[in-house]
């Protein structure tokens, strides 16, 4: 089997350097939503967080704890009610061009074929998509979708579609990759594979990742640091450094004390919060 041309190599050919993750600094950020009847809902209480360049941070928390809101604000889609967000040491005003987002829903445009979906961000930035076509195909090949470029999203399974969404997010080698429960809608087996693939991708790209999830296992497996949020009004409740060697493998890591301890700590924290009921 021929080794697929990695996006890594493709990028080197195009004269870009890699391993260039960008940092995020969140300063007393607060988000208050106004409901239709004029009430205020505090989605996120004054939050501070620093994510180092190249770090993989996973955020876990119960539903409605404001973790998605936090992500939308880092993405520049929503603006904080108070506080300041710095991405790549610049105060954020709108989406940062070196940031990409992957949502739980793949949001592939059904009227575009796979390759055109992957090339969409370049089209939005008015770049010559022809230059990136080869890279898009190489990326698709890397995630096992070689030859699917001219298919349409409706012809692909949920897992395949989410892979395409990830290719679309990394086509420009983003410095910061934001992921909002990207594997939440997938079946357990596909999810496990995707988690492995994401780790491999990140080890190659060496970019910064903020990964939001409900899954304690996948957070601990993937992240350098796990951040536990409290129930609404959301705030950062606990942080946990995960010092497990990489590349991590499921069957090696599952029984390892470092992994089980971390998972148990997060779970205990949720029990103390009352999110999980202690038996």
């Amino acid at each position: 089997m021929n080794a697929p041309v990695s996006s890594f190599q493709a990028a080197e050919h195009m004269g870009q350097h890699l391993g260039n993750g960008i940092g995020v600094k969140i300063d007393h950020v607060q988000k208050i939503f106004e409901t239709r009847d004029g009430n205020e809902v505090i989605a996120l209480e004054g939050t501070d967080l620093v994510v180092a360049a190249g770090e993989f941070v996973a955020v876990v928390g119960p539903s409605g704890c404001g973790k998605s809101t936090l992500l939308s604000m880092i993405a520049g889609i929503e603006s904080p009610t108070a506080g300041r967000i710095m991405v790549d040491s610049h105060p954020l005003a709108g989406p940062n061009p070196r940031t990409s987002v992957v949502f739980q829903n793949d949001y592939l445009l059904p009227w575009r074929n796979i390759i055109d979906n992957v090339l969409l961000p370049l089209e939005i930035k008015r770049l010559d998509t022809g230059l990136y076509r080869a890279r898009a195909e190489a990326l698709l090949a890397q995630v096992g979708l070689a030859g699917f470029g001219s298919r349409f999203p409706s012809e692909l399974s949920g897992g395949m579609r989410q892979r395409v969404a990830i290719c679309r997010a990394v086509i420009q080698e983003p410095g910061l990759l934001l992921m909002d429960e990207p594997f939440g809608a997938l079946d357990a087996l596909t999810r496990e594979q995707m988690i492995m693939d994401l780790q491999n991708l990140w080890l190659r790209l060496k970019n910064t990742v903020v990964f939001i999830t409900h899954g304690i296992d996948e957070a601990v497996f993937l992240a350098d640091r796990v951040i536990v949020m409290s129930p609404r009004p959301g705030r950062i409740d606990m942080q946990l450094h995960i010092d497990l060697p990489r590349p991590r493998k499921w069957n090696e890591i599952h029984g390892s004390p470092g992994f089980t301890d971390a998972v148990a700590k997060v779970r205990r924290r949720f029990e103390e919060q009352g999110v999980l009921k202690a038996p």
Binding site: F103, L109, D116, L120, P121, E123, I124
Partner: protein, 288 residues
């Protein structure tokens, strides 16, 4: 079920054993294909065949029951009249056709603009949308004499009625189409740094197109009604006017011939929309 499985496994066995059963499987497959083609041909012919039958019944029943040509002409009488008087009919058809097209285009342009205003401004939505719906409860037909009063006897009232009657479905369908899009798509494209214009062109408009085209089809049929209605009320030209003339002369055949041409006009314009839809659909990768 079992037949399907057999057809799937047989060729494999056949290539290993001997070539004779293979041709059997091929023959079965060819047979199935032939049957499928026959069925789709029959389905395609169903509507024309039914129409033909109805006309045949009409054609036979008229002489059979001794109905006078002045009361009810046969389809062949009407067709003959369409052919012999094609010049007259064509002159009037041009007028009506132009009214319909102009009315429809105005409705499409204004309808889409109003829909955009409703979609992008909550204030406009609150102010205009209820009014539009209230307006919809007024039968436009009842406005026809008033429209003539204000806009005179020329093309004005026809265009206006045609516009008025076909405008509403376009507004509603466009608003519904635009609103039907999951917010996540817009957020995704915004996260790529898209301006609202880009969000609209790349996501909102393509997503709304299917429901917009649906409304164009409805609106076009309505536009024909509006134009002919305008001609009934006050006109000196057009197929509606020709019908009134025919009525005054007890020329039922010409009257029917005019109806035939109106129908033909509607079908032709409708086909143009379907072709446009197909073209857009193809450019969208057939996923509209």
């Amino acid at each position: 079920m079992s037949e399907v499985r057999m057809a799937g496994t047989l060729p494999d066995i056949a290539t290993k054993a001997d070539p004779v059963p293979k041709s059997g499987a091929d023959a079965r497959r060819a047979d199935r294909r032939r049957r499928r083609r026959l069925r789709s041909t029959l389905e395609a012919l169903a509507a024309p065949a039914l129409a033909f039958m109805l006309f045949a019944v009409w054609q036979i029943a008229v002489p059979l029951f001794n109905v006078s040509e002045f009361v009810l002409p046969t389809p062949l009488d009407i067709l003959t009249r369409v052919v012999t008087d094609y010049r007259l009919l064509l002159t009037h058809a041009w007028i009506t056709g132009a009214e319909v097209v102009a009315g429809f285009l105005c409705a499409a342009v204004v309808g889409i603009l109003v829909a955009l205003a409703v979609f992008y401004s909550r204030m406009v939505e609150r102010a205009v949308y209820p009014l539009l719906i209230a307006m919809q409860t007024i039968p436009k037909v009842a406005l026809a004499p008033l429209v003539v009063l204000y806009l005179g006897y020329d093309w004005g009232p026809k265009l206006f009625l045609s516009f008025l009657i076909s405008f509403f479905p376009i507004v509603v369908a466009t608003v519904v189409g635009l609103k039907g899009l999951d917010r996540g798509y817009a957020n995704l494209v915004k996260s790529m740094g898209a301006s609202e214009a880009q969000v609209f062109l790349k996501v909102r408009l393509p997503a709304a197109l299917p429901s917009m085209f649906g409304s164009f089809k409805v609106a076009l049929s309505l536009a024909v009604i509006g134009a002919v209605l305008g001609e009934y009320v006050a006109a000196e030209r057009g197929l509606g006017y020709l019908q009134l003339q025919a009525n005054a002369n007890f020329d039922v055949t010409l009257n029917f011939a005019a109806v035939f041409v109106i129908a033909l006009l509607g079908v032709t314009l409708y086909s143009i929309i379907i072709v446009a839809e197909k073209i857009v659909n193809a450019r969208q990768g057939g996923r509209l």
